[in-house]
Symmetry: C2
Subunit: 329 residues, 2 copies
């Protein structure tokens, strides 16, 4: 178990998820004695978990290449191997992102229909959530890669957001067909003309991630990563300035006290824990990366994302859709 | 005069700017009778402006190609021609962005040392502002283009933010030297090894736009445009949710009333009018694009940005710096 507050938040997160998902059985990889006492502390009963001992943890600063060489006996490596062996349906980790990506790529392998796996995250929109991918698995993407990201994102939105016909958009610098790169226009043609009968919207701009016009936003990993981090930076800046302002005088503090419920509602709506769980798509297994700094509620949400994908039989659906897309090449 | 609230906010903006900049003389391009009555309304005395009549306005939805063909006698076209003829030092417009870009590019021409002009905007950071460029003048940029953006951005930060040695960063998906594209590494080498003795920081990620670690963030126009719009979308979403939450009950509204000054302080800090003014850099003249939806205060700030650049002799400084950079090719 890795992450800033592991193993505490991981076991507590499993316990919270257990309330909602009583049929899920957890395999907890990490230091047995620590996990045992946390399971007792958080009332996770022994019939819903197994502990698989490992005292090797991949640290947050371990490079992916080192993790690949040395990480097989780590808790992360063993958890991934367990999915590969069919003993677990999915893996959820709050540990080192680069290491998790390298180990899942190596351990679970790419689906044969997928040319490039991608990282997807859900971002808040005005009324629901928007799935954005790729967020950095690849820094470049050709037209077919982008079209495949669209199809994988569409399956994801059906599985996790429960949307019957998710609307797909491609991120660009304008909505008109003439804007941006040829690659984007080619990807657009593939998605529009696909026999999958997708709900393809066309091009969207950065601000449309948030207005709920589309459910899936497709981009290359470089642009997606920059956009995601810019969004995180903006959010942190604005909430930081708001916090400082509301503490700046006794009158403001009194007002804040009266607005407590409203501000809590505001906080809950933009709560990053709600959107916790970056997902590696395009692999022979479900792998969800929880934010390293999240708490138990955030980790429980990441578990829920993973179980949604398993229940939906996400990999099977993705394979089938990508095969159909491929037939149009 | 163009923009959502022109000519009203333009004349009022000039009047506000006039308080701070009593030596600036305005050339107001547009419908004479309307402007005359607005000047009287906003107490802009006749010794500080000339009106140049034009009743042709480039509409917000006019394509740049049409603007180029038909826009010469429009208020925008005439204002740009006035800069080109040396009758005005700079042009500020709240009109159609694409048209302004096309007309300034055509009218003012590219500086001979500049391979690609760029669009720069200032974004709020924790303690000051960060200049980001290119925001969409070009969708692609090679290493030399990026290095030139860095130099132009550095001159801008000295001129407008008054920073003696602005710190420059290149936007990437990680801070390590191995991250991202070769182009970014090459641009990094050009800036680091330049005889200009620049304060070059290296790579920065999207979230660093806001933490004040660097004063200038360099990127290609595609990534910059997506980042900017994602930032605008995030800001709009968060402030919208906050507004709704604070109006959701009578207790919240009472609290909001008590926190009025604090919330006003918050609003002032993130006020987009403060950062109003996207600037076209790399041309034989100063051209500032005010946000189309801004008000008079925002427009006055855009005027101030333009006059700062003129006072600093921005074009001369840019030329000199780019010549030095070129000598290292």
């Amino acid at each position: 178990m890795g992450g800033d507050h592991a193993p505490d938040i991981v076991v507590k997160g499993a316990s919270i998820a257990n309330q909602k998902l009583p049929n899920v059985r957890f395999k907890l990889f990490g230091e047995q004695s620590k996990i045992e006492s946390l399971c007792a502390q958080y009332a996770l009963t022994s019939d819903c978990y197994d502990i698989i001992h490992s005292d090797i943890v991949i640290e947050g600063d371990t490079k992916p290449s080192i993790a690949l060489r040395q990480g097989k006996r780590s808790s992360m490596g063993m958890a991934i191997a367990s999915v590969d062996a069919g003993e677990a349906d999915c893996v959820v980790s709050a540990g080192n992102t680069g290491a998790l990506m390298a180990l899942t790529m190596f351990g679970l392998k790419r689906l044969e229909t997928v040319s490039r796996p991608a990282i997807l995250a859900m971002l808040p929109s005005r009324n629901s959530m928007t799935c954005v991918l790729d967020l950095g698995a690849n820094i470049e993407a050709d037209a077919l890669n982008l079209a495949q990201f669209g199809v994988m994102g569409e399956c994801f939105a059906r599985a996790v957001l429960g949307i019957e016909k998710p609307k797909i958009g491609i991120l660009n610098v304008g909505e008109e067909d003439v804007k941006g790169f040829d690659t984007l226009r080619q990807a657009s043609t593939i998605l529009r003309d696909s026999p999958l009968n997708l709900n393809f919207h066309g091009f969207v701009e950065g601000n449309h991630i948030f207005d709920g016009d589309v459910d899936v936003v497709v981009t290359d990993g470089f642009t997606g990563n920059v956009a995601l981090k810019s969004i995180e930076g903006t959010s942190k800046l604005i909430t930081g300035i708001l916090r400082d302002s509301l503490q700046s005088s006794w009158l403001a503090r009194l007002g804040t006290l009266l607005s407590y419920c409203a501000l809590k509602k505001f906080k809950n709506t933009i709560d990053p824990r709600l959107y916790n769980g970056a997902v590696f798509l395009g692999l022979n297994g479900v792998s969800v990366k929880s934010h390293g700094g999240t708490d138990a509620i955030g980790f429980a949400n990441a578990i829920e994302v993973a179980t949604d994908l398993v229940k939906f039989d996400f990999i099977h659906h993705t394979q089938a859709s990508l095969l159909k897309l491929k037939s149009t090449d």
